[in-house]
């Protein structure tokens, strides 16, 4: 227990210190984590920690990340991407594999080894690239989308690679092949020789092991179908059931259960868990629970990916590195150059231009975490000799370590040259939803209908599952979640929102939401609903842009209807109501000036004094005249008196006389 706590503390403190510093220096969080890993590697070594084992655990962060990426991607968008996905991705993987293989052959490696090295190096780091693209807001650019297509294809390509690599096995080439026992990915063709419980990472369970190919294929397709159909038909009733309990942590647990369950199912049928969760994400992209899932999974993804990056940093074998410094660095730079070259050529073919071309080429130029997986797999299957694998591991890690600096190169040197073209593109990368409506009850619902009728795109957050069902039947697009939670606001896109409409109930929640958004997102305009007069002052002090009293307008209208039914002329009733509302707002505003949220009203001298004065004014009006309202607006309709007319006449006569 103590050991676990110590380990967790070491990882956490390294991240907590390094990442903010790296971010402040503009290096991005990934480099921060990597450096943190390098710094704590001696500590980890001293504690005898199995960094690689932790890394495999942390790779689950990649699975979660792809789930989140899927959530952002509607099926239609994925379909639109198919050309880029297959074309760009396919050519990148094949081209890089062939070229790396050629170089390896030139270094005198046997062809099977060279091919395996090519495949390992063809893959890029989904974790680093997506994390960085999101962090820098480049995900929606052409370069970002192209990068994503390639990464997605690579994630899919890992599966046939895992199937293919065992065929390259050449035990006679393995000088130190005996070490090959530390594989954790031993699910290849060797299951018939009871090869799965050959290591300490647990037996590889499988649903398809031992089945004939056609049956295995059916099971695999069935599993994918189960994910898609389950995503479409089961999530809604499941989440509704969970929502009835009204416990926040249950949602987190459900979301985790969901992702882990899919990952498990995919692993059992021998598919990439990342791919499976990605699919599930795409299926759920249209669900009203999307933002809820997103905000629940996101912290885990962040922590696990951070852990993963730290282990990459910590996993660098500095002894080996400094032993062969020139060679390793040369290989790394050569690899980056070669990969970037292939990507540049592809960018040319696919007409990716300007700064997007460079973002695409530099961003994907590293080797990735799947490289680690494939390397240990190749060693286990006696495809690549262990000493070579150690060197390659170092090259992969080093190329990942250099990636943030490539992004910095892109940002500081390349992007500025394309500023004008970027400005022209700005419209395309604009996220569409720019109004967030928190609360879709009777109040927010009407606001939403109005905005949508006028063609505005809204993101609606509501916390009542029953309510959502009702809205769904009317065809509204709403998301489940507690709008006062910063992470959900983030998932709903508060950073890019222009306007937040606070239509939730409960003074405390309204205050929390307004306060949080005003403090953290000053650019967002806030329309807030006030429960009562006192609340108006609170919201005023917090800096809400527009404050609407929730029952004021309907009360005034009720008063107006009463006037009409009591026989007042409708136009007079209208004028009186307007006057009343205006008066009331005036008083409210005057009182807001002297209201201080930190002083209770009973102790606020200025407030009491002001209130007395206004009261006196009102009373004079009420008792001094026969009517409660001295209608300024009546002035226009009061006919001039006969005296006025006489004055006019005599004035005219005088003028006429003067002229004579």
């Amino acid at each position: 227990m103590t050991e676990f706590l110590l380990l967790a503390f070491v990882f956490l403190i390294a991240g907590v210190i390094a990442v903010p510093i790296a971010s402040r220096l503009g290096l991005g969080s990934v480099l921060g984590y990597l450096i943190a890993g390098i710094v704590i590697s001696p500590v980890l070594a001293a504690l005898g920690v199995d960094v690689i084992a932790i890394q495999h655990f942390a790779e689950f962060g990649v699975v979660m990340m792809l789930f989140l990426v899927g959530l952002e991607l509607e099926p239609r968008m994925l379909w639109n991407m198919r050309a880029r996905l297959l074309g760009l991705g396919g050519l990148q993987v094949v081209g890089t594999t062939v070229l790396v293989m050629a170089v390896a052959l030139a270094f005198g490696l046997y062809w099977t080894i060279a091919l395996a090295v090519g495949m390992v190096m063809a893959l890029s780091s989904t974790a680093i690239v997506l994390q960085t693209l999101n962090e820098k807001g480049l995900m929606k650019t052409e370069g970002g989308q192209s990068s994503f297509s390639v990464l997605l294809f690579q994630d899919i390509a890992v599966i046939p690679m895992l199937a293919f690599i065992p065929l390259l096995a050449m035990p006679e080439l393995m000088d130190l092949g005996a070490e090959a026992g530390h594989s954790d990915a031993g699910h290849g063709d060797d299951h018939h020789s009871d090869g799965h419980h050959d290591d300490g990472h647990g037996p590889s369970l499988s649903l398809v092991a031992g089945l004939p190919a056609w049956a295995a294929g059916l099971v695999t397709i069935g599993a994918i179908g189960a994910v898609i159909l389950g995503g479409i038909y089961l999530t809604r009733p499941l989440f509704r059931f969970i929502a009835m309990a009204g416990l926040r942590e249950l949602f987190v647990a459900t979301a985790l259960m969901f992702v882990i369950g899919i990952a498990l199912l995919m692993t059992l049928v021998g598919l990439s868990p990342a791919l499976g969760t990605f699919l599930a994400g795409v299926v759920l992209a249209n669900s009203e629970y999307r933002h809820e899932l997103e905000s629940n999974i996101d912290p885990f993804r962040g922590l696990l990916l951070g852990l993963f990056f730290i282990t990459v940093g910590a996993g660098i074998d500095f002894g080996l590195l400094f032993g062969q410094l020139g060679l390793i660095i040369g290989l790394t730079l050569g690899l980056i150059g070669l990969k970037a070259g292939v990507l540049l050529v592809l960018a040319g073919i696919f007409k990716i231009e300007g700064q997007d071309k460079w973002l695409f080429a530099l961003g994907l130029a590293q080797a990735g975490e799947f490289g680690f997986v494939l390397l240990s797999f190749t060693v286990a299957n006696q495809v690549i000799p262990s000493p070579l694998a150690d060197q390659l591991l170092l090259v992969v890690a080093l190329s990942m370590l250099l990636t943030p600096s490539l992004f910095i190169l892109f940002e500081k040197v390349i992007a500025p040259r394309f500023v004008t073209s970027q400005e022209r593109d700005a419209d395309e990368i604009e996220e569409e939803a720019n109004v967030i409506i928190a609360g879709h009850g009777r109040f927010g619902g009407i606001v939403n209908r109005m905005l949508r009728a006028a063609g505005y795109t809204t993101t609606v957050l509501d916390y009542s599952a029953g309510h959502l069902d009702m809205l769904r039947s009317f065809g509204f697009k709403v998301f489940y979640g507690d709008a006062t939670r910063p992470d959900l606001l983030h998932a709903a896109g508060i950073e890019k929102a222009h306007l937040l409409i606070v239509a939730i109930d409960g003074k405390e929640q309204i205050n929390a939401l307004v306060h949080y958004v005003r403090e953290n997102h000053p650019h967002v305009k806030i329309i807030a609903r006030a429960v009562d007069r006192q609340h108006v002052y609170d919201l005023f002090a917090m800096g809400a842009d527009e404050i609407i009293r929730e029952t004021f307008d309907s009360s005034v209208r009720t008063g107006r209807s009463a006037f009409e039914l009591l026989g007042m002329h409708p136009f007079d009733a209208e004028l009186v109501s307007r006057k009343f509302a205006e008066d009331d707002r005036y008083i409210l505003k005057e009182m807001a000036m002297v209201h201080d949220p930190d002083i209770p009203i009973s102790e606020n001298e200025a407030y009491i004094e002001k209130s007395r004065t206004l009261m006196a004014e009102r009373e004079a009006q009420i008792f001094g005249k026969s009517k409660a309202f001295d209608l300024d607006s009546d002035r226009g309709w009061l006919p001039p008196s006969e005296k006025d007319v006489q004055a006019l006449v005599s004035g005219y006569d005088k003028q006429s006389t003067d002229l004579k």
Binding site: P570, W637, E642
Partner: protein
């Protein structure tokens, strides 16, 4: 029989003496549609379809209002802007009002003398009604001689105003029953209650 609609527009009915009596008279007549515009549209949200249907259903369109700044109260202007649509009231295919008549019944604060070249209003009252007359012409309607009460502020309720309101009722009834032939207006003609008396007795004789 002609069908008549009276559009009454007065934003300050509490302060009205002449128009109130006139409205009361008009409202009490059989076979006349009486519309208090400010009561129907206190928020100026005019229902264009409904108003156009009303126009189609009537042959004589009456506007009754106090003259404000040489023009109508603002709601009538709003009504004109919205209801007299291109394609309905004027322009291409805009002949839905052709052959109908428009009567303006107004009260003016100034005396007859004020509305003379030597008076403080300088122009004859009729001149200020030119926009309404041209509106009628553009809509291919007959513009009847306006029915006017001068010196409305000074007028005695029991005598002058009562007589004017009574005349108003007689005028509307005669138009309804087609028992009066009004002269087509020249630039200077307006009808006052005494003028009307002469005309009505002439019609009876004829």
């Amino acid at each position: 029989m002609s069908s008549i609609i009276v559009y009454y527009a007065h934003p300050g009915q509490n302060f009205s003496r002449a128009n109130r009596q006139m409205a009361k008279t008009a409202r009490g007549l059989d076979g006349i549609t009486f519309v208090d515009l400010y009561a129907e549209y206190p928020r100026h949200d005019i229902d264009v379809d409904r108003e156009q249907a009303r126009l189609l259903a009537h042959e004589v369109i009456v506007f009754q209002f106090p003259l404000y700044w040489y023009s109508t109260p603002s709601l009538i202007k709003e009504w004109q802007d919205l209801v007299l649509q291109h394609g309905f009231a004027y322009g291409h295919d805009g002949d839905k009002l052709a052959g109908k008549s428009m009567l303006v019944a107004i009260t003016a604060g100034g005396s007859y003398e004020a509305y003379t070249p030597k008076g403080y209003q300088h122009y004859p009252l009729r001149t200020f009604l030119t926009p309404l007359e041209q509106t009628a012409r553009l809509c291919k309607m007959d513009f009847l001689p306006p029915y006017v009460l001068y010196s409305a502020l000074k007028a005695e309720e029991e005598t002058e105003i009562a007589a004017h309101a009574k005349g108003y009722g007689q005028l509307l009834s005669a138009l309804r029953d087609d028992t009066i032939a009004l002269p087509l207006p020249t630039n200077h003609d307006v009808l006052t209650a005494p003028d009307l008396g002469t005309l009505l007795s002439a019609s009876e004789e004829g």
